[in-house]
């Protein structure tokens, strides 16, 4: 039999290693570098709470869609249609809000988005067509539907009351200091339990990070609602994936669909469910987008699906299914929008932006792939 070389203290190494926590280090490093460069260029205040809040706000829509995309990727599928679905939801919201009011219009937008997700999931799973092809089709068709609905023009909400309610849903300011302290306290409790039970230090670091963040941002720190929605969506998705039977089965379905089926799991239901979640999340992002301006144009959010997928890849989600973390995907989205924000603040111009972002995504994927060929693979080869 093979001689086992058990890694010393696996929890320390795996919890904080480059492969498992690399995306957090990358975000931190990026912030530090941009802060130093901004400072040197005579533009202090890069790390100001206001600017950090800005980054969070800008990343929120992609973050929300990225969380759902991660769920789809975990099940081994792929959803290219999220940008178009979000635009459709925004168009429905803006188009109907004057007639039936904000809440019913938002409901209709979400229901439509979920229906598109269901359609995607049903075609992929009942006809057995590759998800890439199906959602490439819905990407185009749904964008076409948006053009039909808007007749190619921008739509606007006319009713002042409705518009005010929509703006309040998206653009009011929410103080965060107290909430962050509460989160830090909850994390601290969890960290104690985790350390006592399993000698895990990850939660303790998270608690400390949140506490430091709260102190750094200060008492007067406020964010726009989408940041809070992103936090809630991420927490809920994390909880379901990490702590519930549904989550375990989603990972199992993506890891080996046949083994999951022969373990008595309704594989199709989980795969279709992931598409519905993705549609819903895209719809919610679209609703937020529509509320931002009270208006929508037919090319809204075009190409955002690629940013969403890039965020998931930065977060280390496997395109082959069975692995992925929503928290890391959100961190990946933050990295992308920190880059964008940095380019704007440093006046580097948009020309370099796409190039740098693309290189970052490939570099991240390279790190995950090469990092994954570590000892574990080699050990497998010996058996």
């Amino acid at each position: 039999m093979t001689i086992w070389t058990k890694p010393a203290s696996p929890t320390w190494r795996t919890g904080l290693g480059l492969r498992d926590a690399g995306v957090y280090y990358a975000l931190l490093l990026l912030l530090i570098v941009l802060a130093l460069v901004a400072n040197a260029a005579g533009r202090p205040g890069y790390l100001s709470p206001a600017n950090l809040g800005n980054i969070l706000y800008q990343a929120s829509l992609v973050g929300i869609m990225g969380v759902a995309m991660t769920v789809v990727l975990i099940t081994g599928a792929f959803d290219l249609s999220v940008g178009s679905v979000a635009a459709l939801a925004a168009a429905i919201l803006v188009g109907l809000a004057d007639g039936i009011g904000f809440v019913p219009a938002a409901g209709a937008a979400l229901a439509t988005a979920a229906a598109v997700g269901l359609l995607n999931g049903a075609i992929v799973n009942f006809l057995g067509i590759n998800a890439f092809i199906v959602t490439l089709g819905t990407l185009t068709a749904v964008r076409g539907l948006v053009l039909v609905l808007t007749d190619g023009r921008s739509l606007m909400v006319e009713n002042g009351d409705t518009l005010a309610r929509m703006l309040a849903f998206e653009s009011s300011r929410i103080p965060l200091f107290g909430a962050l302290l509460v989160v830090a306290a909850l994390l601290a409790v969890r960290a104690c339990l985790a350390f006592i039970r399993a000698r895990r230090v990850g939660p303790a670091i998270a608690a400390l990070a949140v506490l430091l963040l709260a102190l750094f941002l200060g008492r007067d720190f406020t964010v726009a609602p989408p940041v809070l929605y992103l936090a809630i969506v991420t927490t809920a998705a994390w909880f379901v994936l990490a702590r519930t039977v549904t989550g375990r089965r989603l990972y199992a379905v993506g890891g080996n669909a046949e083994a999951a089926r022969l373990s008595g799991i309704d594989v199709r239901a989980y795969k279709i469910g992931a598409f519905v979640v993705s549609g819903l999340a895209a719809g919610f992002a679209g609703v937020l987008f529509g509320c931002r301006l009270g208006a929508v144009n037919p090319t809204a959010l075009q190409g955002s699906e690629l940013t969403v997928i890039a965020a998931a890849i930065l977060g280390g989600t496997s395109l082959f299914g069975g692995a992925g973390s929503v928290v890391k995907t959100v961190t990946g989205a933050l990295i992308l929008f920190t880059l964008t924000n940095g380019f704007n603040i440093l006046n580097l111009g948009a020309n370099y932006q796409g190039m740098i972002e693309g290189i970052v995504v490939i570099a991240a994927a390279a790190i995950y792939t090469v990092g994954g060929r570590g000892p574990r693979r080699a050990a497998g080869a010996a058996l």
């Binding site: 086992w4 089965r249 083994a259 022969l262 080699a378 080869a381 058996l383």
Partner: protein, 498 residues
Amino acid sequence: MVTPLLLAQGVAKTFPNGTIALHGVDLALRAGRVHGLLGANGAGKSTLVKILSGALPASGGTVTWRGASARWTGPARARAAGIATIYQHVPLVPTLSVLENILLDRGGWRRDRRDQRAEVAALLARVGHELDLDALVGDLPIGARQMVAIVQALASGADLIVMDEPTASLAGHERETVYRIVRMLAHAEQRAILFISHFLDEIVSLTDEVTVLRDGRVALNAETATLDEAAIAAAIAGRSVTALSRTADRWIGAPALVATGLSVPGRLGATDITVAAGEIVGIAGLLGSGRSELLHAIFGAHPVQTGNVQLHGQPVGPSPEEAVAAGIALVPEDRAAQGYIPQFEIWKNIGLPHVGAGSWLLDPAAERGAADAAIARLAIRTPDADTIVTDLSGGNAQKVVIAKWLGERTRLLLLDEPTAGIDIGARTDILQLIQSFADDGLPVLLVSSEFSELIAICDRILVMRDGRIVAERRAGDIDEQGLILLAGGTLPTVEQAA
């Protein structure tokens, strides 16, 4: 004795993570001889093969090829030098024809197809096997694919052909074809063959010389004529093989599984089967006999199937979800493709069928506890329950797949080739385990290509052929020879199973 074609001296391999796969192995392969290589899973066979075929660099020792020192930088170099390797999982291109696959490694771009066709046809005539050159490899049964791989190795003109468990997935008559070709290549064409196998009988009857690896060292190297199966088995196991004995007059309860009219179009004709509590019913059949289809139909896993399944008088719906809910457990044939989730740790794999039975929230502590208990009960060799299942050897991974169904909810156990590709030690463990399940009152339905296993532990054996049960025997009333004849020989009259 002839100078060796290939001489390996002190070949060692240490992986970057510190795992020592080979401690220094000597191996001499001579033209005109079949050299058997055996060893338990994890003994270093695969690593040695990969080093000889250039797929892995050795960390120590020397390899001499035709009298000159050799250190190949890749499989293509070894192949060009005259070493062809046929891997266990045949890497062929399913979308290309047989002819194109056989000539896959040919360079050049202006070759006459008629030339090639004639060349391959001549090759096939030499080995005396017929293959449709224009058939797509993806449409061929696994036995025919194995033949394509062998012919591919021959077409490259190799002098040394390494065969990594070529017969593991083949049925009896297909194996005979492989044996015939191996003998022809070695004895008539003077090539050297390195033949890796778990089957002792074929090693004894086929090879001229045997090397047994154990824990990365050579445990035995001798002329086959001086050995018998027991001596080889002892070298592989390093301890005496526990013989399995059938307990006479075991307790058998009332019928538990009653399935009627089970059929899968084209694969399984209307079949009735009954298994009593505490009874082990064996199914003997060759590949394609409908044996796996029968298990899958009982489990409700076939998309198109008809028939009724009752467990302890309760009807069970035709879907895996309903089957699992009713307490039916299936250990599938292909553990990597159907048995476990490769990304999951042992404890998550073991818990998979059970999570969801209770609360929506997971209880990792309870799952780990159950997994630790299963690891202890099944003697799974692993540092802990947190090991990723793909890091385990084949036998231990198989035990994990069986452990998935150890829970109290399991009321019927269906096992499809649970000992395929597993070393003798783990094999005995698993068979004893199956016996202990039955002793606890569980009805067990066992499919195996190892008829000796069926005879050793089953109470009743059903023989399947062409999608039907063609015979039924009490295990005490039949021997291995008889089962082979019933499953693959010419039957004078097909009798109807009771």
